[in-house]
């Protein structure tokens, strides 16, 4: 285990933004950290990056409890490096930005130059080596920040939305780099993202946070909905005025009208349209995307709202769903979670 | 109008520091209704205020410069008000061996021959003017220091003299009397001082200066004060009438008595000059 987190609580003022009873992060693996805005992803990375102390709880790093005395942290921080969500470059050249961490590690000049050139090459920013860092564009900045962290060959590499403003060409490159350093140099990687297909492509494990808590759900099909009762008095959840879903009485916990709804993509059933009349929670929609994902197939259906669902490869191959086709989804009440 | 009988007077810091004005001016106000705003500065600056017409009357102690001031038409006339005297003070050990001698010139010669530390005010004040004239009288070789300045397109020279040994045993510090005295005390040196300041620093403080009187009573050490109203012909805005009234009150029986009766820490400081 590279990290073992127990009873972690982080509060800002009265608000608890993280509450994690137990979490293990294995060595030499790639983790994706998903979650809505404000779920606490950045906060968790800051804590794992040993840059912020938790309000309560224990963290073990490499099986040793972390001591939050500044002096004790300094040596650990040399092994763990974090790339910020909106990284900041020092007001100097790109080259010197990369040199800083290497100088600190007392790496000799020749070696330093070699590493810097190599790292900038990786992210395709070598020609900017002597450019003043403060004028770089958003994506250029992000790439330099990644190179700056990579140059240090850390044991743990924490990345907060590493590709959020990176262009398509370089997104792929960065993903490749992350996979490569993980495989070749056995660096543990933990990154956050809002792009779940990226997470699926790259990560061995996925952690999803919701309002500071670990949740076992997948990070998609999350909608804002409104609770109502339908004409027959049945509770109903309306999503974006377009999708009406009946829900179980027991799910209406309190009378909040606006809720977040998660529809479990693995529990949605799908079939070709037939003459049968539509029953409750059956929707028609058009297939807009079909994507292979970890041995399963992910279909996105435009049913007024875009809904994703996961089916087995077998079923996909058997029924032969095609993009552009109209199909029928049925969403059983147990697939619907109000959050 | 009575409420507005206010005049401004420039004077030297030592006059203000002596405390006489604090006794004199309230009496003046009672008698004549005149309020005096006192502006205390170095002698040179105080005279400058007179020349520029920033004040209505001037009370200083530098006779030659006062006469010149009148000659140039800045003042109407000089009222001799009072005098006190200068003394030479020095460390109790008296390294130059001048104690008890009243001959200042001899004392100054001894400073030079023994290279005994002497602190000069060096600020062109009344005291400094007096000191320079004593050095001249000793007949020792003196050095002249000259600075050229520009004034209304003409070059003018400013000079001051000092004996040899400047910076060595002769320290020119360019400060007021009080500071000069503490300086001499710190450095255990001799200096020329007016009696009023010495009394304050010797008897008026929790930690008195160690310096003692070494030489006093030489008639040459008298320090006369004069009051000069500013000439309204030069500066029409000055309150000449009030200034004159003030000057005349000072030299009147009443003013002179107050001066004569003023005691600083039980010691007489000023001797009236106007009583015939």
């Amino acid at each position: 285990m590279i990290y073992t987190v127990s009873d972690l609580i982080k509060k800002y003022g009265p608000r608890t933004v993280l509450d994690i009873p137990y979490l293990e992060v294995e060595k030499e693996q790639i983790y994706a950290l998903l979650g809505a805005n404000g779920a606490g992803k950045t906060t968790l990375l800051n804590i794992l990056g040993l840059l912020e102390a938790p309000t309560a709880g224990r963290i073990h790093y490499c099986s040793r409890p972390v001591n939050y005395a500044e002096s004790a942290l300094q040596s650990l921080r040399k092994e763990v490096v974090l790339v910020d969500q909106h990284p900041i470059l020092f007001t100097t050249t790109v080259f010197k930005n990369l040199e800083f961490g290497l100088k600190i590690r007392k790496i000799n000049k020749k070696e330093r130059y070699r590493i810097i050139d190599e790292s900038l090459d990786l992210v395709g920013m070598r020609e900017f080596s002597s450019a003043p860092a403060q004028y770089l564009s958003g994506g250029e900045t992000q790439r330099v920040a990644i190179a700056r962290a990579l140059a240090l060959s850390p044991k743990v590499f924490l990345c907060d939305e590493p590709t959020s403003s990176v262009d398509v060409e370089n997104q792929n490159i960065i993903i490749t780099i992350l996979r490569r350093i993980n495989e070749a140099k056995k660096i543990s990687v933990l990154f956050t993202t809002h792009d779940r297909s990226q997470a699926a492509r790259l990560a061995h494990h996925t952690i999803v946070l919701n309002q500071g808590r670990l949740v076992p759900t997948l990070y998609e099909n999350i909608f804002r909905g409104v609770l109502q009762t339908d004409p027959s008095g049945q509770p109903q959840c309306v999503i974006q005025d377009k999708m009406h879903l009946s829900i179980g009485e027991d799910q209406v916990i309190d009378k909040r009208k606006a809720v977040s709804v998660f529809i479990d993509p693995e529990k949605i059933a799908v079939r070709k349209p037939s003459e049968d009349p539509a029953v409750a929670n059956e929707l028609q929609g058009r297939v807009v995307q079909i994507i292979e994902e970890n041995g399963k197939v992910r279909m996105v259906v435009d049913a007024g709202v875009w809904v994703a669902l996961l089916i087995s490869k077998k079923r996909y191959q058997k029924i032969v769903f095609m993009v552009g086709e109209t199909i029928v989804l049925s969403i059983p009440p147990e697939a619907i979670h109000l959050m | 109008w009575a409420r507005y009988k206010i005049i401004k007077m420039s004077t030297t810091t030592s006059t203000q520091a002596s405390g006489l004005l604090d006794v004199l001016l309230p009496e003046l106000e009672k008698d004549t209704g005149i309020t005096v705003k006192v502006i205390a500065k170095g002698t040179g600056a105080a005279i400058r205020d007179g020349m520029d017409g920033n004040v209505d009357v001037m009370l200083v102690h530098a006779r030659e410069r006062e006469m010149k001031f009148i000659k140039q038409g800045y003042g109407t006339n000089r009222y001799a008000v009072m005098h006190n005297d200068f003394i030479i003070v020095g460390p109790p050990a008296d390294p130059a061996g001048i104690k008890g001698n009243s001959d200042v010139i001899a004392a100054f010669k001894k400073f030079a021959s023994n290279r005994a530390r002497f602190v000069s005010r060096g600020d062109d004040s009344g005291t400094h003017t007096k000191e320079q004239s004593i050095w001249k009288k000793t007949g020792l070789t003196v050095k002249t220091n000259t600075t050229m300045i520009e004034k209304k397109g003409k070059k003018r020279e400013i000079t001051f003299i000092h004996p040899h040994g400047l910076g060595n045993w002769y320290l020119s510090i360019g400060q007021g009397m009080g500071k000069t005295l503490t300086f001499a005390d710190e450095k255990l040196a001799y200096t020329l001082v007016d009696r009023g300041t010495y009394i304050k620093y010797k008897f008026g403080r929790e930690v008195p200066v160690d310096l003692e009187i070494m030489c006093q009573g030489d008639p040459f050490l008298a320090n006369p004060y004069g009051v000069i109203p500013i000439n309204p012909q030069k500066h029409p805005h000055v309150q000449y009438e009030l200034a004159k009234e003030f000057a005349e009150w000072l030299v009147s029986e009443r003013g002179q008595t107050i001066i004569a009766n003023y005691r600083l820490l039980g010691k007489q400081l000023f001797y009236p000059d106007a009583q015939k």
Partner: protein
């Protein structure tokens, strides 16, 4: 207006003739002011950093006290130091009074709060992420401070420049602790005060103009130094 023109011409004459006396005065002024500025920088900047970076109860109160010390009058500092180094004070035996060292001590006390307070103000607006980034790259406290210093240098240099301006133009401390001894502790300002007391206003202003010229020169140096750092 005459005063200014006359003074200006006299100032030029002073500089052109460059007599030994002016030379000495300028030398003393520069030496004393530069030394005290450097001293105050070496104490004030780290002090400011320490206060800005630490979290402790009463931090804001400490800053308020520091700000209060900006109003420390030179007379008070003069008397305070005097009490220690006078013949009767505890440091009397070192014979510091009326030396350039005494001035330096007093002036440093005067400007340490200036440097510290403005260092704090300068750092406080530096994005927290610079510090965080330096830390995650493995920097220790000193190296982290260096990064923040680099980013805040414009403000900190402004503080140092202001501190220098404060001491080179300061009179009270130089007068009380230096004693304005001709040839030893006479600085530009005490010389000016003296000329003023003598009524030689022209000479006083002339000296002031020379002083401003000097200070302009120092600022040009700073300017180029900053320019170089900037373009790095």
């Amino acid at each position: 207006m005459n005063l200014l023109i006359d003074s200006f011409i006299s100032a030029i004459r002073l500089v052109v003739s460059m007599d030994a006396e002016l030379d000495a005065i300028v030398g003393v002024s520069l030496k004393v002011s530069c030394t005290s500025t450097v001293l105050a920088g070496l104490i004030g900047v780290p002090l400011g950093f320490t206060i800005a970076f630490s979290e402790f109860v009463g931090k804001r109160m400490t800053i308020t006290v520091l700000n209060t010390l900006l109003a420390l009058p030179t007379v008070v500092i003069g008397l305070f130091v005097y009490a220690f180094i006078s013949r009767r004070g505890i440091f009397g035996p070192f014979d510091l009074l009326y030396t350039q060292r005494a001035i330096i001590i007093g002036q440093a006390i005067l400007i340490i709060p200036v440097v510290a307070a403005f260092t704090i103000a300068a750092i406080s607006r530096i994005d927290e992420r610079y510090r965080k980034t330096a830390m995650t790259l493995g920097a220790n406290r000193l190296q982290t401070a260096w990064i923040v210093f680099r980013e805040a240098r414009f403000g900190i240099v402004a503080a140092i420049v202001a501190a220098f301006g404060r001491v080179i133009s300061e009179i009270g401390i130089s007068m009380m602790l230096g004693g304005n001894i001709k040839g030893f502790t006479r600085t530009m300002t005490t010389a000016m005060a003296l000329e003023y007391d003598k009524g030689s206003f022209i000479l006083a202003v002339a000296l002031g103009i020379v002083l401003l010229g000097l200070s302009f020169g120092m600022n040009l140096l700073f300017h180029f130094f900053q320019g170089r750092v900037h373009s790095q």
